[in-house]
């Protein structure tokens, strides 16, 4: 399994773009393992399927890199930095700090994309995770089973941020899975009709994320 065994310009039929070199939007030529490309394909399909009709089709996805010749998962061809998703009628732009946007609808859109990514990749590092990810979402599949793990900061900050914008939980987004976060998470699961075994049942966790994304992309709370 070579880190660069696949090379491609689209994922799920959606063109890849690179925004970081200058003001122009450039075609991006990604490389990764075949298995990771399959996950990206599925993620791109999800972005199209989960979005309401008002968004239109996904026009392009901007990335800061998939295979990157440096240590950790990027160097293994198993990571992807997401800068922007452009539908015909909407944009979710981690590169512009949309996780901290003034409009709740924009933050919910970010939560929706974040949730869809977590259905395919164990490690999703977002704008709440640390300062390094204020301008992109990092996706990789190096973390094992696709279940919620309260021991991972990356999982906990996402649930805290989602609870704040979806059920107005007013949690501190600190990555600490305490009683308030636990209650807020339980409330969200109840409201989307998902049993609580999201820490041990990947199917249930993915179903929770899907239903969360559907609501968030439509700017509707839980």
């Amino acid at each position: 399994m070579a880190a660069t065994e696949r090379a491609y310009r689209t994922i799920g039929g959606v063109p890849l773009r690179y925004l970081r070199s200058d003001v122009r939007v450039r075609t991006y030529y990604a490389r990764s393992t075949a298995a990771f490309e399959d996950k990206l394909d599925a993620f791109a399909h999800d972005l199209g399927r989960a979005a309401p009709p008002s968004y239109g089709a996904v026009r392009y996805i901007a990335t800061a890199g998939a295979y990157v010749n440096k240590p950790k998962l990027h160097g293994l061809g198993r990571a992807f930095d997401l800068d922007l998703v452009r539908w015909q009628g909407r944009t979710c732009a981690p590169i512009r700090g949309h996780h901290g946007h003034a409009r709740r609808a924009v933050i919910r859109r970010y939560i929706g994309v974040d949730a869809l990514a977590r259905r395919r990749f164990k490690y999703v590092l977002d704008g709440w995770y640390n300062a390094a990810h204020r301008d992109h979402l990092h996706l990789d599949d190096g973390g094992g089973a696709l279940v919620f793990n309260a021991g991972y900061r990356s999982d906990t900050v996402f649930i805290q941020a989602a609870a704040n914008v979806m059920i107005n939980a007013r949690l501190a987004v600190d990555g600490v899975y305490g009683p308030k976060t636990r209650r807020a998470f339980a409330t969200m699961k109840d409201r989307v009709g998902i049993a609580h075994r999201v820490s041990s049942d990947a199917r249930l966790y993915r179903a929770f994320l899907w239903r969360l994304a559907l609501r968030a992309l439509r700017n509707k709370g839980l």
């Binding site: 070579a2 890199g65 240590p71 998962l73 990027h74 390094a132 992109h136 990555g175 820490s199």
Partner: protein, 393 residues
């Protein structure tokens, strides 16, 4: 492994080209170089004959692999390539008294080494993991008669049971295994048997070593600390040692934040040291007079914006680096003769391959005698490659 001039393309009709659907390069056309024989790109200073010479100082500035079977009137280090045995990915190389050592990882996650005395016949060996972890090896240097490799080990020692507190109601206990990534060194005296040891001299929960170099007596290893989940690098890590067993942390006098990054290379340079780093924004070069206190060379941030730097080597007053552009994966070689203040791009005459479609990577660079040598992959094949520097000098 540089981005050569493309003279023809194997059109597959598939917009998602694969490693197999690579372009035909000018070099292919001229030399009929086969897929597995594309290897060693030596950027050799003009007028300097290559030769097999014992290492003088060890580490990344030392002695030399010979070219395979040079003709009588050909340079001793030819523009040919060597495919390394097996299918592991080489990650680091150095030269020593006993020849060239390369380290890398197999697809199954096993650390391996390749060793050769003559640049033609290579012997592979496995580096063992410490008892309770999964090892990753990244860099290697010669230290006297010994070789020192560096990397990390992912330890899964601690476990905790969260039970209902994990948001699972009363559905029973859930066990999570806490992991810690520890810097690790291996050493060998016989080039075959490696002894591992984790480095406990860092306070970070997760840290890794990526490169190591030796100035003849002192070792400097560089890498990164990782974020709280151990997913990505977030800060620089420098360690110094005189014996390879006890390590002292270095100091970074300027901001060491390396988002999704790490130090990626280090080399001794006369009375000082240089190191490379790569992060989300691109590459940078650092310097130190003693291997302990390190400063960012600010102009390098602009020079290498949008690139990752894979490694560096020092040849006299010249510092050589290999870079990969983030946007299109094009490989670039640069050299500096003024202490890394300004850089000139090297354009090797040897056009080995067209990177963008051929899935070629370069993972490390070292100056071996008077040549610049790189290791990497072409497709899935590990290669060590050398050639001459056509336009840089």
């Amino acid at each position: 492994m540089n981005d050569g001039e493309e003279v023809g393309v194997d059109h597959s009709g598939n917009d998602r080209g694969t490693a197999l659907g690579r372009p035909v390069t000018r070099r292919d056309a001229l030399t009929r170089a086969t897929y597995g024989v594309a290897g060693l790109l030596l950027l050799r200073a003009p007028g300097t004959p290559g030769r097999l010479t014992p290492a003088r100082a060890g580490g990344k500035a030392g002695a030399v692999p010979t070219a395979p079977t040079p003709a009588a009137d050909a340079p001793a280090v030819a523009h040919t390539a060597t495919r390394l045995p097996g299918n592991a990915q080489p990650r680091g190389l150095c030269d020593g008294r006993s020849g060239v050592m390369v380290v890398g990882m197999t697809g199954a996650g096993d650390p391996v080494s390749w060793h050769s005395r003559d640049g033609r016949r290579w012997q592979t060996h496995r580096l063992p993991s410490p008892a309770d972890g999964d090892a990753e090896v990244w860099g290697v240097a010669a230290h006297g008669a010994r070789y020192i490799a560096v990397g990390s080990v992912l330890q899964r020692r601690a476990a905790r049971v969260l039970g209902g507190r994990a948001g699972d109601g009363a559905q029973g206990d859930v066990t999570f295994v806490a992991t810690h990534r520890r810097p690790t060194v291996w050493w060998t005296d016989d080039r075959a048997t490696w002894t591992p040891a984790t480095v406990e001299d860092t306070t970070a929960a997760h840290a890794q070593l990526i490169a190591v170099s030796c100035d003849g007596s002192m070792l400097v290893a560089v890498g990164s600390t990782l974020d709280v989940d151990g997913v990505q690098g977030d800060g620089g890590l420098i360690l110094r040692s005189h014996d390879g067993r006890t390590w002292r942390p270095g100091e970074l006098t300027s901001s060491a934040g390396l988002p999704e990054g790490s130090f990626t290379g280090v080399a001794a340079a006369g009375r000082g040291w240089f190191a490379t780093s790569s992060d989300m924004a691109g590459g940078a070069v650092w310097s130190s007079s003693d291997g302990l206190r390190w400063s960012l060379l600010a102009p390098s941030r602009r020079q290498f914006a949008g690139m990752t730097l894979q490694g560096l080597g020092v040849h006299g007053r010249d510092v050589h680096v290999v870079a990969t552009r983030l946007a299109d994966h094009a490989i670039r070689y640069y050299a500096s003769s003024d202490g890394c203040r300004t850089w000139r791009r090297l354009r090797p005459r040897v056009h080995a391959s067209r990177l963008r479609a051929a899935a070629v990577t370069v993972t490390d660079l070292a100056v071996i005698d008077d040549d610049v040598v790189v290791v990497g992959t072409r497709g899935a094949a590990p290669v060590i490659e050398g050639g001459i520097n056509g336009g840089g000098h």
